[in-house]
Amino acid sequence: MTPQTTTTPDQGEVARICDAFQSDPHRMLDILRDVQDRFRWISRETIRTVAEKTALSEIAVEGVASFYAFLSQEPKGAVTIRLCDDIVDRFAGLPEVTEAFENELGIKIGETSADGAYSLEYTPCIGMCDQAPAAMINDIVLTALTPDKVREICEDLKGGKRPQDLVSHRFDDLTPYERAIRMVDNNIRHAGAVLLGTTPADAGLKKALDLTPHQIIDSIEASGLRGCGGAGFTSGRKWRFAAETPAERRVIICNADEGEPGTFKDRVLLTERPHLLIEGMTIAARAVGATEGIVYLRGEYVYLRELLQDVLDDRRARGLLGERIMGMAGFDFDVRLQLGAGAYICGEEGALISSCEGLPGEPKTRPPFPVTRGYLDLPTVVNNVETFCHAARIIDRGAEWFFEMGKKGSHGTKLFSVSGDCLNPGIYELPYGLSIRKLLELAGGEDAAAVLVGGPSGTMIARDTFHRELTFDDLATGGAIVIFSSNRNILEIVEYYMSFFVHESCGYCTPCRVGNVFLQKAVAKFRQGLANPADIEYLKDLSSTIIETSRCGLGMTSPNPILSTLENFPLIYSAMVKPSENRIRATFDIQSAIADARHLAKRRSHIFDKDFGE
């Protein structure tokens, strides 16, 4: 679809977009995404039309339109530039890149140019930490930006080039795979035995046909495979629960909403091993008796949409998806692609299911768990991209082969997304059980002062514990390893991650919606040297309240940047607090508190300006 410069959306066209999805309310996110792409905004009138077509109330439609960051109720520029505002990007030169964009386009962050040609905004981590700073320009991704590059980009855009032309002058002639790797370098630094080495096409699926569903599940369970998204639930058990729940229909969902800042391993698998992923999903479908599948692709990875769509089409054409897969009677399974629209919370499986159902991406109350009542109340298996890929390989090579790798309780290999202050940022496929020190050696990050394992909801460790191991029992991670050198300010990093959680909280429960704001403010006080000794207790106390009283994993882990740095970098906090003097708070600064009033009243203080009247 060609985006227009901002216009009043043609409601006939909006209705046609609804028709393309049979006006199915469960496809609301797809409908609104298409409207957004076409008209660059979702107007009040559009909401009315969509509500009528889908037989929903206007407020229900608006609930979805206002939830997702990539949907806008104000006109956006024909070219929307979203700069990745991750801490890694900030350290890699984002401020200079932002300034260059602002100067070239004549608009500030958060603004749209008067002619409706350009919008400029920040967005949280887009999964390009290994090549920061990065940006999305409409559906195109550009990485390793510099101010010089930005000036070139803006000149080209103003000269009438399409965003695609920035990637290659013969973009239209490239295959989807070529387009993807021109935009984004996958930086595979170490290929392991399971995923990134040679993977014979559909070997696992062929073997799965000779096995009973029971045998497949037994094999996955025996392999010791655990979910690779971060939580680490035993995959075989998850499949067994779904298989044992009586139902007419069952669903397999692939969680490709990799939003944890610092994680980009799924991006690499989706680009380099898309067939392996769908093969894994198809095997899961046979194991649990599912006929429907969904790949939930995060909105930031829209540049992979064509590639994945091609893979699905190709597999359908070759009889690997659809009815009678590989000629086997009764083995029917098909997969649709569901695109997200910029919401970190949708990586949480309940929120992800809500999003697939066309609702705002809010988590669901558990229990019931998705394996018994998930997507449209059907038994649903939600697994990470990497988990499905592993499953396909396990069925091909056998459970024992996989079980032998790694450590007790953490079997097989894991993809680690390494970024930050190191020589070789990128993807490392390594067996579980490696120490952080060893990984730092491989990545050329021996100077690290701090390593964040598992993203902001994981653990930040200091140099004295680099001997710790990457396993589920010691340092569990969905794959993110962010390295910080001694030049970095730990509290700046913590404050950034708290602001990330403030931004991404879905707002459903108060402890998370409000508590994270208070935590962020408290950390800001430490940074400014305005914290009391008692504020350390306040941080711990508030953190435990948020963890105990939040409904989903976001609130249960959002205080982790603070808690893990309090534990592993206690001196940083204690060095920043200011004790009271004579029980009068040294942290209250009267001079800055009256600065505004002094300026407004155009006079000085007769109490606190000592030289007043002299």
């Binding site: 009068i584 800055s592 407004l600 203080s605």
Partner: protein
């Protein structure tokens, strides 16, 4: 046996509405009982404006919205052994702290004053000016709870606390028996 010296109490109302001071009077006839144990120093109740000597207890109503509030509060901290916040304004900033909600402005204080004295729909201000007499203390950028400015020893919650709660708390403190509040006495639903 010599009579114990009376405890000396000072009170002040900062950015409050004087409601908590009114509530102190709700102690009613028990005031006579209380007065056998205490005497008042600096307080609006005595109209003494400065400390005559060091006090045992300071009671603060209201938070800090201007420089004079800060000055008074710091003065209380220097001159009182035990400092007690009374009412929500002292404890959390209370109603005056509503102006802290003006956040998305480059000049929140100006916006607040213009709304209060010039732009507000029901304003009858014939001068169309924001008051700026040199005698007026300068406002703070936002309203602060007392504990943000000095260390506080105790808080008596409520808006305003009842005379009963005030009397109970003071009596127990004076007897050295205050161990916090029973939940029933400070719930308001």
């Amino acid at each position: 046996m010599t009579e114990l010296p009376k405890a000396r109490i000072a009170t002040a109302s900062l950015a409050g509405c004087f409601g908590c001071h009114m509530a102190m009077l709700d102690i009613d006839e028990r005031l006579i009982e209380l007065m056998t144990l205490v005497e008042f120093d600096r307080s609006p109740l005595t109209d003494i404006k400065t400390f005559t000597r060091r006090c045992d207890i300071g009671i603060i109503e209201g938070g800090c919205c201007n420089e004079e509030n800060v000055h008074v509060l710091q003065d209380f901290r220097k001159n009182c052994d035990v400092l007690i916040g009374i009412g929500q304004c002292a404890i959390m900033g209370g109603l005056p702290a509503m102006r802290n909600a003006i956040m998305h402005s480059d000049e929140p204080l100006r916006e607040c004053l213009e709304e209060a004295f010039i732009n507000g729909r029901y304003i009858r201000n014939t001068t169309h000016n924001i008051p700026n007499d040199p005698a007026l203390p300068l406002l703070l950028d936002e309203v602060y709870a007392c504990a943000e400015v000095v260390e506080m020893d105790y808080n008596i919650p409520g808006c305003a606390p009842t005379g009963d709660v005030i009397f109970e708390t003071l009596s127990k403190l004076l007897a050295g028996k205050f161990r916090g509040f029973e939940r029933e006495t400070i719930r308001f639903d």
